[in-house]
Amino acid sequence: MNTLIAIIGLGILCLILEIFDARKAIIPVVVIGLLAVLGLDISEFNSPNAYYNNMIIVGKFSSAFSALFIILTIFLVSLGHKFYENHQTKISDFIAIKIFLLAGAVTMVSFGNLAMFFLGIEVLSIALYVLASSNRLSIKSNEAGLKYFLMGSFASGIILFGICLIYGAMGSFDVIEISELSRSAELPIWFPIGIVLVFIGMLFKIAAVPFHFWAPDVYEGSPALTTALMSTLAKVVAIATLYKLVKTMNADISPSFQLIIVIISIASMTVGNIMALRQVNVKRMLAFSGISHAGFMLMTLLSTAKSSGTLLYYTSAYALAGIAAFSVILYVCKTKENEDITNFHGLGKNNPLMAAILTASLLSMAGIPIFSGFFAKLFLFNQTIQAGFIALVIVAVTNSIISVGYYFKLILAMYTKEPNEAKIPTPAVIYVVAVISIVLNIALGLFPSFVLDLLG
């Protein structure tokens, strides 16, 4: 709870800073502030507690994920420093929005009441709409914004309807009550429908097939930094929330429901990977890879009992790799008008370090050992086989083979093609972010237990 308040406070603070025209200070202050908040959050880790008659429930799960969100936000904010250098005037708005978005994210993982859940989603989404279309003058950005906005609000309409039906069935928004009730008596037919509607709404947020269509377009259209945010933070938040929702609402999923999850996850990874093969725009490619990863993450829902650690591990591995990849993309495409793969030609010669980092992050996403991506997949498969879905695992493996195809397309471009222009100087901050994130990723790979056992 304190985390949440602190975050919002930080957001307001950075708006105030703008009033006093201390734009230069904003990012450092925010970063320091977020670090403090991180500390606060970690301090809450071992003191589970409920606030405002169960509106907010802080537990291991929520604080662990909040910590992840905060770390990601720190990276994203610090990347903003260079990204917004040409429109300094708005920097405070962007930063503030990101922080409020973070607030929404934290709310989403620590809700104890469907109302908070809904508010969290909306705070997050509205912030994202703004960021997506934040580049006013570019049609692409506008289009991305509108697409995201229309479909997003449509989705939240569905979610709202779902919540409403649940409320109708149970007469309460409190998740704990609801789950208790759901176990007991026979339920009115609209309760499962409500659950399904909410579920589908969340599937839209994590961009799972067949609710994924928005993702590639929006990722491509919106400014690179926003894309980074969407593909890392937003996705992670959504899946975490969905996981929590499913876990709390109905601990024992019906076989038919499991089948739906299996089908959707298979569809997501397959479609995502296959579509990614022929993409030329890196952001778009990563969007599809994100879709496939969503498919992987969905597998955790099949054994909600003990897969929270795995989910946390997978999300952190994926997000860290994503941050590293995007910081390189930001660096490479800073001066370009698009993010086509041709811009990466000869990066291996121009800037070996950056190339190495991108390679590493791609390898991690592809699931090659010692990068945490491999272990994430391994633990996931382990859990899924335990739950008895070996066929699903085989499909997943086949998919990760396909995925190598497009990840390596990028690597090949970096190492085998000739560079098309001279080396561009790298801003230190990007270096720092990229290196830290990839080092964290590898560290996770070497000591998986650290994260894996957090949620026991």
């Binding site: 090659i368 382990n382 190598v404 085998t416 237990s449």
Partner: protein
Amino acid sequence: MNVSVLLIILLVGSFATYFAGDKLASKVALLFSLFALGTSIALLNIYNAGENISCFKFWINNPSISYSLTADGLSIIMLLLTIALTPLIIYSSFGNEYKNAKSFYALILFMTFAMSGTFLASDGLLYYIFWELSLIPIYFIALIWGNGDTEERKKAVVKFFIYTLAGSLFMLIAFVYLYQKAGSFLIQDLYKLELSRMEQFWIFWAFFLAYAIKIPIIPFHTWQAKVYQKAPTVGTMLLSGIMLKMGLYSVLRWQLPLTPIAARTYLPILIGLGIAGVIYGSIVALRQKDLKKLLAYSSLAHVGLIAAGAYTLTIDGLRGAVLQMIAHGFVVVGLFFAAEIVYRRYETRTIADMGGIRTQAPKFASMFMILVLASVALPTTFNFVGEFTVLYSLSQINLWFALLGGTTIILGAYYMLKMYQQVMLGETNTKVFADVTSHEGLVLVIIIAVLFFFGLYPRPINELITPCLDQILRTINKIQ
């Protein structure tokens, strides 16, 4: 002092090489590889003294994965092969100039590190990790420093990578499944498992996919020739000298003991595949225009025989397979180096452009001849010991296997001598061919010395591996 020291040396070496800069890289790499060689010999002595040089640490508790390296005869011999070939390979590359040498040599050492790990790991997952790790460096070595047209090379290398990765991922599933059964990835726990026929069959084929692609056993060999041809010779040496032994080693270490029933059931098919590889490889090698491709197919033929031996599930078969692995490791490195020596002078690998070298370079001619003879398993060379043992084991299964496998004696002689004749003999070539330089000579001489020494006195190796192979056989027979 335990084996992990070795891994540390190699890993540190690879970083040191990278930071040593392009000038010194090769020297530093050689230094570290020699250091590693020394250490491994020291370790061998400790092992022979009967002390334990294995190492075990818990790593991940859930799922329980441990950093456990076990050094028994088989692992040690494969380790020695790796560590002994690395300095040779590095030294052999001194004649060439590589751009961005520091990364090149760093990658070589890193690959050695990964491969040594594969041979040592006794925890299924650790083994798998090393197995995959060894793929990355060779991918980059072949991709960046390879020769020939970039696009073709890219196609070949990516195919190789995806293909092998695809294979090994199914092995991963098998491991995870086994973990579910045993609650641990440790090999001794996996050995204890009582798997049903059905399970064994699935797991067997999952492993087989991984190994058949790596070794390669036909019809999974399609990546081989192209990659051998396109990769820089050093990469080819690493691939053919050491890496494909990983597959064969894994068959002995993991596949057979874990799925004995399946292995017995499919025994004829597997031996058949191996022998088919022998014949097919030899025949295809007959009409290759590119020297490296010819050698690639010859090595396809040889590993086919080794695989056949391994799948006989007899002590002779296993022993012969191991001996032949080592022999082949050395001889193939030597042959590819010979090809490289020719390339350095003539800038070509097309056999048609060669010939008439013997008159200009008698030293080289004789050494090349010896290598050729070794690869056709002339008695008193190491390869004969291995090949004889393997063929004997085959004859114990069925005389026809021995007969068909034995065609390697004829066909091998045919294509190798044909190659030698076209490359070395004939009217003096118009292009001048300088005889081997001192360091090229040294490399070849060392290889030849090894081949002859163990050809006449394979006993030390026998004594090293036999107990371990007996153990493996016992595991196989106990379960079935």
